[in-house]
């Protein structure tokens, strides 16, 4: 396999006197989906914030394509090609799909004004590639279903992520059919040669999507398993701690 796109080495994060994450090491390769699982409070959200740049780690190193990076906010994470899809969909509801796709990074034409034509064209192209079924790039977000919205959020992340996409419970708020559609989109992202780190509570989803599974418990990394070589019972045991590794 090629070099890892994301490499976390001995990550530790303290909030005041509390250790949220310790001794966490993980590699994500291009075209690979790694699932991060753990019970509530295991430190998954903290880890997302560390990888996306929101919280710098207290110690340890983050390397992207082998180069160590220092990030202290999400803008720096984005500059390194890391995009996050949040569980509560960070979309502006009253705006159009294409404005959301380019939110905060709108292209300008030669007069310094918004280049709507380019935004619409690129949105339609990407939405088609990912098979996100929305009525049009002009549609207003609030007129879309939950699955369509999450599709837009993933499309946006895909458009900007050159290295890594973090999916933070992307289907937590979705129905059965919509979840299936979003899972299909996530699987199709593998061809884009970016690393994908997905956080989810659904073990079915973990086994359907991931190549490897990383288990967290109380801020500690319990282990990493290849999805093909493990089963639900082992993962559940690792999550709950009923079977020590």
């Amino acid at each position: 396999m090629n070099a890892p796109i994301l490499q976390l080495q001995d990550i530790r994060k303290n909030f005041g006197g509390i250790t949220a994450i310790e001794n966490f090491s993980l590699e994500v390769f291009p075209g690979e989906i790694v699932a991060l699982v753990g019970d509530n409070g295991a430190g998954k959200s903290t880890l997302v914030k560390i990888v996306s740049g929101v919280h710098p780690p207290s110690s340890g190193t983050i390397a992207i394509e082998g180069r160590p990076v220092m990030m202290s906010n999400a803008t720096m994470g984005r500059a390194h090609g890391i995009e996050v899809v949040y569980q509560d969909l960070a979309l502006a509801d009253q705006q159009t799909v294409y404005m959301n796709m380019f939110l905060g990074r709108e292209p300008l034409n030669r007069f310094g004004l918004l280049d709507r034509r380019r935004m619409i064209a690129e949105t339609e192209k990407l939405v088609k590639e990912l098979d996100v079924r929305i009525p049009s790039a002009h549609a207003t977000i609030r007129d879309l279903s939950g699955g369509q919205r999450q599709g837009v959020a993933i499309a946006r992340a895909t458009h900007w992520a050159s290295k890594l996409i973090l999916l933070d419970e992307p289907t937590a708020a979705l129905g059965v059919a919509e979840t299936a559609k979003v899972e299909e989109i996530v699987l199709s992202l593998k061809q884009r040669n970016v690393g994908i780190l997905i956080i989810t509570h659904s073990l079915d989803q973990v086994f359907k999507l991931s190549d490897r599974i990383c288990v967290l418990r109380r801020g500690k990394q319990i282990g990493v398993r290849e999805t093909k070589k493990t089963d639900k019972n082992e993962i559940i045991a690792m999550i709950t701690g009923l079977q020590q590794q």
Binding site: T75, A90, L103, G112, L113, V127, P135, S136, A139, D143
Partner: protein, 323 residues
């Protein structure tokens, strides 16, 4: 467009053709036709009367532009009426001693400065704009009263009164120029620039804007500063047209401006709005004033009728929000 599916295409059409957006134009037309018919013998339809309506509304229109930005960002500015008086008085006093240019700088500067104070308190001290501007509204109403001990200050500089009030260029009155230019620039900035898009995103979902790299505090500071500056300009326009400044200027404008903006399709909670709608809303308010006076209604009846019409218009334009 991208993936053909008949019922979503219909949904798309319905969502793009939103009646609510056009309410202001229909309302404007209905009120215009009503007055044109009822007041056909009272001079409502004369060019002089109609152009008077536009001239009288100019300051309200200018303030409405600022408020569209503020409300689109999810904030409110209640201090605009007080800013008008402070700016007009500051300009009038300065013109008397230091001339026109200094007067313009001081008048606009006062508006921008008050806007900056509002904005800094909202953006960086993180206080709600409703309370901040409610407080500065009262504070600067007091300042304008104490500035000249309630006296009216006349403005005799003819260049100033021509430029901001009674003058004309290419036989178009200067107040109409101000209105047209301000609306054009306001519309362009609101609809076609990154700043406009970021204002809307901030009012729509501040967290989404923030995680997308938009500096939400800067946007909040900017919209309140713009609103203050435009209220300052409105103060200069009043001083120019009336050739005098007094603490009562702008006193009753706040409700008119808010009504014009909301009737014009700008959501009180932010995320959506229209500069052109605000212009039509403001002209509608001006026409209403003018028509009700020509109909010979007493001041109290005028207030009641105006209140009822605003209530109807606001109800119609906001109805869709809570679907």
């Amino acid at each position: 467009m991208t993936s053909a599916n008949t019922d979503t295409e219909v949904g798309s059409f319905a969502s793009r053709f939103n009646l609510q957006q056009y309410v202001v134009y229909l309302g404007f037309l209905a009120i215009f036709l009503f007055f044109a018919f009822m007041l056909r013998d009272s001079g409502f339809l004369t060019v002089r009367n109609l152009s008077n309506i536009v001239l009288q509304t100019a300051p309200v229109t200018i303030m409405a532009i600022g408020l569209v930005f503020v409300m689109s960002a999810g904030e409110i500015d209640l201090s605009i009426g007080s800013i008008v008086a402070v700016a007009a008085l500051a300009a009038a006093v300065t013109i008397a001693s230091y001339g026109m240019a200094a007067g313009i700088v001081v008048g606009l500067g006062a508006g921008i400065l008050i806007g900056l104070i509002n904005g800094a308190l909202v953006a960086y001290v993180k206080l709600p704009s409703f309370l901040v501007t409610l407080a500065t509204m009262g504070l600067f109403a007091g300042v304008s009263r104490s500035m000249t001990d309630l006296r009216s200050i006349s403005v005799t500089n003819e260049t100033f009164t021509g430029f901001f009030g009674s003058g004309s260029l290419l036989s178009v009155p200067s107040l109409i120029w101000w209105t047209v230019i301000a609306i054009a620039i306001g519309h362009l900035v609101y609809r076609e620039t990154r700043f406009g898009a970021h204002v809307l995103a901030t009012g729509d979902n501040a967290r989404a804007a923030s995680v997308s790299g938009i500096s939400v505090p800067k946007i909040r500071l900017a919209v309140l500063t713009i609103s203050g500056g435009l209220a300052g300009l409105a103060g200069l326009l009043y001083a120019g047209r009336l050739q005098a400044a007094k603490y009562t200027l702008g006193e009753t404008d706040l409700m008119t401006v808010i009504a014009a903006v909301i009737v014009g399709g700008t959501l009180l909670n932010g995320g959506k709005g229209s500069i052109v709608g605000a212009l039509v809303g403001s002209l509608m308010m001006g026409m209403l004033n003018n028509g009700l006076i020509l109909m010979g209604l007493s001041v109290s009846d005028q207030m009641i009728v105006r209140g009822l019409i605003i209530l109807t218009a606001v109800a119609v334009s906001l109805r869709d929000k809570s679907r």
